[in-house]
């Protein structure tokens, strides 16, 4: 009961403060699942993100992995509902009360302040995921190759993740 409450509370909070899209929610989820509650190892959190990439649908679905790992099917259901409910609520309220002034100067100013923070947070998430896990030359090579392919060649994230898994499995044989 307690763990379910904790899951719902944590993911509602992430849903409400996850400005900047699905990837911006990754540092928030990492903080809760790995650093704050030790629900999973850093490497397992990496798997949560990877699964969000190889499946269709929003990136934030990594919440389902975390919920399932922590409390089985009820946990998965609760975490998923909790992370997406704020979206529904906020879009409903925005649509009802805010639409006419959406080009508001203050809103733009807030987003201009938030965007650089999100960039910094995702960079920090990459560092905190990579530091304990990336030890060998081939992993370093994978990091660089994936980053370059994703930026320049626009290879889909799901394919890149599958490729990295295959490379990892081959290196372990």
């Amino acid at each position: 009961m307690n763990i379910l409450y904790e899951l719902a509370y944590s993911f509602l909070k992430i849903g409400f403060f996850g400005f900047g899209g699905g990837f911006a929610m990754i540092p928030l989820m990492q903080h809760v699942a790995v650093h704050q509650h030790s629900w999973m190892s850093s490497a397992q959190f990496g798997v949560a993100i990877a699964l969000g990439q190889v499946t269709p649908g929003p990136v934030a679905i990594s919440a389902t992995f975390i919920g399932y790992k922590v409390a089985g099917l009820p946990g998965a259901l609760l975490a998923t509902i909790a992370i997406f409910t704020p979206s529904l609520l906020i879009m409903y309220l925005l649509d009802r009360f805010y639409l006419k002034e959406r080009k508001n100067e203050i809103t733009h100013a807030i987003m201009h302040g938030i965007m650089p923070v999100i960039v910094a947070l995702i960079l920090l998430a990459a560092v905190s995921l990579g530091r304990p896990a990336v030890h060998s030359w081939w992993q370093a090579l994978v990091v660089v190759t994936v980053a370059v392919l994703a930026i320049t060649r626009r290879v889909s994230y799901g394919l890149l993740v599958l490729g990295c898994m295959a490379v990892g499995a081959l290196m372990g044989l």
Binding site: G22, A76, G113, I118, A120, A169
Partner: protein, 204 residues
């Protein structure tokens, strides 16, 4: 309580039923790989081109609105559209249908992973996968970073957040809120300076 068709800028298509919207959203949920901007094209094709549930202009407006709100961009956008064209129940059932395919897949894959995670080959695959995710996050940093305005204060805010995050185990939510606050302070200061300088000019 729904806004009139005129306000929506609809192209005169018949009002879709909750079931129609839910079914279309299920399809988007099952085919929309990649999340975020990668899925915007698919959403546009399905809702604007094929179904004609909203106009180009309406779509652009709602995308801009969705970018401002917290949460996943695609979920925000699709939830808002479903509410516009079908009301509150369409919004809830269509969003559930949107998430359902990935939810079921994730549950299945997570079950497999948890059962096999101690297998040496899986362990090794995870090493490759973790490295890949680090690479992806760097690419995301690059992509989002490109869209940040090249103002000195954006750099200052970003560097400050980076240093704070490195130095303290602070909840990232606080850094997000601080960033928003920095944006407000900047715009308020700019307004004050503008007022002062125009007041100065008018006295001359």
């Amino acid at each position: 309580m729904r806004p009139s068709d005129d306000e929506l800028g609809q192209s005169g298509s018949p009002s879709p039923t909750t079931w129609n919207i839910t079914l279309t959203y299920f399809k988007i949920g099952a085919l929309g790989f990649g999340g975020g901007y990668a899925v915007l094209d698919l959403i546009h094709t399905e809702l604007v081109v094929k179904q004609r549930w909203l106009s180009e202009e309406g779509f652009e407006d709602m995308t801009a609105l969705s970018e401002m709100a917290p949460g996943a961009l695609t979920v925000n956008l699709l939830a808002a559209i479903a509410y516009r064209i079908g009301g509150i129940w369409a919004m809830i059932s269509a969003t559930a249908a949107l998430i359902l395919p990935s939810f079921v897949l994730i549950i299945a894959l997570t079950g497999l992973f948890l059962a096999w995670q101690n297998n040496p080959v899986v362990q090794s695959a995870m090493k490759g996968l973790t490295a890949g995710v680090v690479g992806l996050l760097i690419a995301v940093v690059w992509d989002i970073g490109k869209g940040v305005p090249k103002h000195w204060y954006c750099f200052a805010v970003g560097i400050t957040a980076l240093l704070l995050g490195l130095a303290f185990p602070v909840n990232p939510i606080w850094l997000v809120l601080l960033g928003g606050l920095a944006g407000v302070i900047k715009v308020l200061l700019a307004a004050v300076f503008k007022k002062n300088s125009s007041a100065g000019r008018s006295t001359q």
